[in-house]
Amino acid sequence: MKLTLKIWRQKGPKDKGKIVDYPVNDVSEDMSFLEMLDVLNDDLVRKGEEPIAFDHDCREGICGACSLFINGEAHGPGRMITTCQLHMRKFKDGDTIHVEPWRAEAFPVIKDLAVDRGAFDRIQAAGGFVSVNTNGNLVDGNALPIPKADADTAFDAATCIGCGACVATCTNSSAMLFVAAKVSQFALLPQGKVEAKNRVLAMVEQMDKEGFGNCSNTGACEVECPKGISLEHIARMNREYLAASVTKE
C-alpha cells in the first residue's frame, strides 16, 4: 500500500523542528510500524538524506523503548500494544499518518522522534527498589508467605515497561501511572513494606521535580498503557502517600 507520513523532524534538542511529509510506496500490511520506518530510513540513506531517529530495542513489546505518537494516539491505534507490536494492516492504502514524539516538558526531544526518558530512571532511583543486604544469608523464598491476590496485583504493577505512553497521552503530561506502578509493585509485598513510606514520599518528590503535570484522573493513561496498568494503582499510591506524609516523623 501507499501512505503519506507526516513526521516530526528535529535536528537536535535546540532545533525548533517541523513536520515533514514523506510519501512511502510498497508498504506490506505484514510489516510492523517500525519495519515500515526502517524501509523509509533505508530509502533516505540511499538518497543521502539523514534517517529518522526513533527509539526501539526488543521489538516484541517488552522493553518499552519504542514510543511514537501515531495518528493522535500513543503507540497508534489499538489497545495493549506498543509501537513495535502495531502492524500496518491497521492502516489503509492512501492513508495519511501523523508521527510525533512524546510531548512533555520532562521528556525533551533528543532528535526527531527520540525523547529523553531519563526522568523515569531518576524517579526509580529515588526509591523504586528494595535494599538487600548481600552478606550471604539468603532467605528461602517460601519462608515468607504472600497472599496469591497480593502477588498477582504486585506482578500486574511490575509489568510496567516504563515506555512513557501514560505521560504522552495524558493531557497534563502526568507520570502518575508509571510512578504508581513502581510504588505498588513493592508496596504490596512484605519485602517492600519496610521502606514503603520513604519510597512513596521520595518517588513523588522526584516526580514533581522533573516537571510532570498533576493527575486529573481523566483515565487516558490506563486506556493507552500497553500493559493495562490500572488506575487502582494510582489510588493505592494516593493512599500510601497520604498515610506516609501524615505518619512519617
Binding site: 507526516k6 516530526w8 513536520i19 505518537f69 495518528n71 493522535g72 494516539e73 501523523h98 510525533e100 510531548r103 512533555a104 516538558e105 520532562a106 497521552t169 493531557t171 497534563n172 503530561s173 502526568s174 514520599l201 513523588v204 518528590e205 516526580m207 514533581d208 516537571g211 510532570f212 503535570g213 498533576n214 493527575c215 486529573s216 484522573n217 481523566t218 483515565g219 487516558a220 486506556v223 493507552e224 488506575l231 487502582e232 494510582i234 489510588a235 493505592r236 499510591m237 494516593n238 493512599r239 500510601e240 502517600y241 497520604l242 506516609a244 506524609s245 501524615v246 505518619t247 512519617k248 516523623e249
Partner: protein, 228 residues
Amino acid sequence: MSRSALLGSSLAKKYWMALTGLFLCVFLIAHLAGNLQLLDMSPAGQLKFNAYAKFMTTFPVVKIVSYLLYASILFHAFDGIILTIQNRKARPIKYAYEKANASSKWYSRQMALLGMLVLVFIVLHMKHFWYEMHWGPLGMDADGNKDLYTLVAAAFAQPLYVLVYVASMVVLAFHLMHGFQSAFQSMGLNHPKYMPIIKTVGIFFAVIAPLFFALIPVWMFVNASPVQ
C-alpha cells in the same frame, strides 16, 4: 519532608481539591433542599422562604459553616488554577494531531474551564441574592422578615436570568460528572468493589442536583404572576 508533602506536593494539591470539592457537593445538597421551598409560590410559601433565609443568615452555626464554605470555594478555585497552570507548563509543545477523545472524556480534560464558568456563576449569583440579602435595600414581608422571596421571583420573571441559571447548571453538571468520582480516586478510594457504585452515584448526583436547581428558575418563570 512530611510537612511539605501535605502542602506543596502534586498529590497534596489533589487531596485539598478533593476535600473542598466534596464539601461543596455536600453544600449543594443542603442548598438545594432549602431552595426547593421556592417552588411553593403561594403567600404562605413566600413567608416560609423568607423565614428560612433569615435563619440561614443569622443562626451562628450556619454562619460558621458558611465562612468555611466561602473559604472552600476560594481555595478550591485557587488550587485548581495552580494545578492547571502547572499542567499547561508540563506540556509546552502540543501535539499537531491528537485524538484525545479516544482515551478520555472532554469534560474530564476541561475541569478548569468548567470550574471557572462555575466561579463566574457563583460571583453573579452571590451578587444577585447573597449581597442583596445582606446589604441591599430589601422590603419586609408580613412577618417582618427581609423579603428575599420577592427579589428572587422578580429575577426569575426575566428570561435572561433563567437562561444564565439554567446554562450554569449544565456547566456544573459536567464539572460534577467528572469531579465527584475523581475526588474519591484522589483520596485513594478506588476499590473494584466500590468504584462502580461511586461512579454511578456520581453520575446520578451530577445530573439530578443541577437538574433540580435549574428547575427552580424555570418553575418560577413559568408560574410568575403577570403584574403584582
